[in-house]
């Protein structure tokens, strides 16, 4: 009887995952969708524990609840305490944990399935994918939180990585066909998979990390699905495949927004761009600087201002100051809106989340296609910590590594003010010709600091 109920519970779980994901793709229902999927998950987990067939030692129950309790407390506190700007790396970290979980399942189950080559193949596939997802996510996490700054490229890394990938397949095939019981091979494969995950992510630049995380996310889904296949467990299978396919599509959608084919992300087309960086610095003429007091006056007399937020805003935690600035300008009758590039920040939608945190109106966040025609009627564009997404080279210079990427056409506005910490190139590693134009002024400094000055200058105008 127990067995029958667990299938109904798993069906319920699978339906909540599908509905939850569906609701997550609409702003109105998103939050409830997330809660629905979470509820389905709780039911599936409890059902698995309590409806298990056969005798189970109470010590094991104790350990399971201990692990769940510990994981809940740690996960909950980490997720609640993290700053909104640090969310992308946290998602990556959690993804890595899921991958590690799948890898560990494989390590344990290997011994229990030695007589079935099919099961061994499934176990190895889940373990390899889980391990790659784990080590890859940890590298992505380290890159996003800044502890691993530069893209490290071994000589001929593309060929090397491809060879390791082929090696992983060959090694797995060898273990399955030889029917070996030798643990050394299992751990050898495990180590190779971990190594591949590291080498796969480490050459990829920070700007492409969202795509990588999304891809690793779908990997972990796939690893979970292999687990489901092994146990004949429907909820793992549906949940895993659902995330695997939705994650892959999401990855492609993100690539499309950046106009970066997935192939280029993985095999690194920004390589040449970095060579230009060294020669491009400072050699394109002079830039005009503007101070907060002059800018305050200029803004005060504008009719329409568009703000283009970027990663610099997130790093400086300037989302609340910018809201204050918006409020002040509106009180003075200036029309203010935000132009959001789809990949501004460190993840698609990152800017929307940040600005939502400081209570910016949903209607004021304009997406690229809607806002581009508006720039020509705009008096002043304030670019805060964005660079590549406003680089006109993407439209005009076919040799540029970002050529073809859709950009915010800020150069059509009457005046452009760019806030940056320095003249360093953006993540794509290329110089921005926009900064040297006549209508462009630079406002150097940390976004939060200069915007705070700007706000007090505006207040002083009364």
């Amino acid at each position: 009887m127990n067995l029958d109920i667990i299938h109904i519970i798993y069906l319920f779980g699978s339906v909540t995952f599908i509905l939850g994901l569906k609701m997550l793709s609409n702003p109105k229902t998103a939050r409830n969708g997330n809660i629905l999927a979470a509820a389905g998950m709780v039911v599936a987990i409890l059902g698995t524990i309590f409806l298990h067939e056969g005798e189970v030692n109470s010590l094991i129950y104790g350990l399971i609840f201990g692990a769940i309790g510990l994981g809940t407390v740690v996960g909950w506190l980490t997720a609640k305490r993290v700053q909104m700007t640090k969310m992308p790396e946290l998602v990556s970290l959690f993804n890595g944990m899921g991958g590690a979980c799948a890898a560990l399942i494989g390590l344990v189950e290997f011994h229990h399935n030695l007589d079935s080559p099919t099961n061994i193949a499934i176990i190895l596939a889940g373990m390899v994918i889980g391990s790659v997802s784990f080590s890859g996510s940890i590298i992505a996490w380290a890159k996003l939180n800044g502890s691993l700054k530069n893209a490290i490229r071994l000589p001929k890394y593309n060929i090397l990585n491809t060879l390791i990938l082929i090696g992983l397949f060959a090694y797995s095939a060898f273990i399955v066909w030889s029917g070996t019981h030798n643990e050394t091979h299992l751990f050898g494969l495990f180590t190779a998979a971990i190594l591949y995950g590291i080498l796969f992510v480490i050459p990829i630049g920070g700007a492409d990390m969202p795509v990588v995380i999304s891809l690793l996310n779908s990997f972990t889904g796939l690893a979970a699905a292999f687990g489901g296949f092994l146990y004949g467990n429907q909820v793992m299978l549906t949940g895993g495949i659902l995330v695997g396919s939705a994650g892959t599509l999401l990855t492609l959608v993100m690539c499309e927004a950046m106009n970066r084919p997935l192939f280029n992300v993985i095999f690194g087309a920004f390589g040449e761009g970095e060579a230009q960086q060294s020669s491009g610095d400072g050699s394109q003429g002079t830039v005009k600087e503007v101070g907060p007091s002059d800018l305050a006056v200029q803004m005060n007399y504008s009719n329409k201002i568009l703000i283009v937020p970027g990663y610099g805003l997130a790093v400086a935690q300037a989302q609340h100051v910018i809201k204050e600035l918006e409020q002040l300008l509106e009180d003075r009758g200036v029309e203010v809106a935000y132009a959001i590039h789809p990949v501004a920040g460190r993840m698609p939608g990152h800017m929307n989340v940040l600005l939502a945190e400081s209570n910016v109106d949903y209607d004021k966040l304009k997406e690229m296609e809607d806002v581009n025609p508006e720039f020509s009627q705009t008096d002043l564009v304030l670019v805060v910590g964005a660079n590549d997404v406003v680089n006109p080279a993407a439209k005009t210079d076919p040799t540029s590594p970002i050529f073809g990427m859709p950009i915010l056409e800020v150069e059509n506005a009457k005046h452009v003010v760019v806030n940056k910490r320095s003249m360093n190139a953006g993540y794509a590693g290329i110089q921005n010709e926009l900064f040297f134009r006549d209508k462009t002024s630079m406002l150097f400094g940390d976004a939060k600091k200069v915007l705070t000055e700007l706000v007090s200058e505006l207040k002083a105008l009364d």
């Binding site: 987990i45 698995t48 944990m97 979980c101 659902l242 939705a246 959001i340 698609p348 209570n359």
Partner: protein
């Protein structure tokens, strides 16, 4: 060839689920606005935490004297729970903000 057909026949229900879920996954997030990409990725990240169910099964099927399975299983359940709980909570935090301003 026979082996492949045999594998398919033995696992036909599973294979049907896999193929159909691929289409469901694509269909379900087909029209998501860019604004929601980050929460959606985060939500999907929490859902693949369902792998924790597998870790629980590992522990339930093991003998308490199998220390390797106990230790690895414990770590796996812990990490899987971290993925599930952290994933859903952080997604909820992101979405909470979207709701507040409406």
């Amino acid at each position: 060839m026979n082996e492949i057909i045999e594998f398919f026949t033995q696992n036909k229900d599973m294979i049907f689920i896999v193929v159909l879920m691929v289409f469901v996954g694509v269909e379900v997030i087909g029209k998501v606005p860019a604004v929601l990409h980050t929460p959606l990725m985060s939500g999907a990240n929490a859902i693949h935490g369902v792998v924790v169910v597998g870790a629980i099964i590992v522990m339930l099927n093991s003998e308490p004297t199998n220390y390797v399975a106990m230790v690895l299983g414990f770590i796996a359940v812990f990490l899987g729970t971290l993925n599930v709980v952290g994933g859903f909570v952080v997604t909820d935090r992101m979405l909470e903000m979207f709701k507040k301003k409406k």
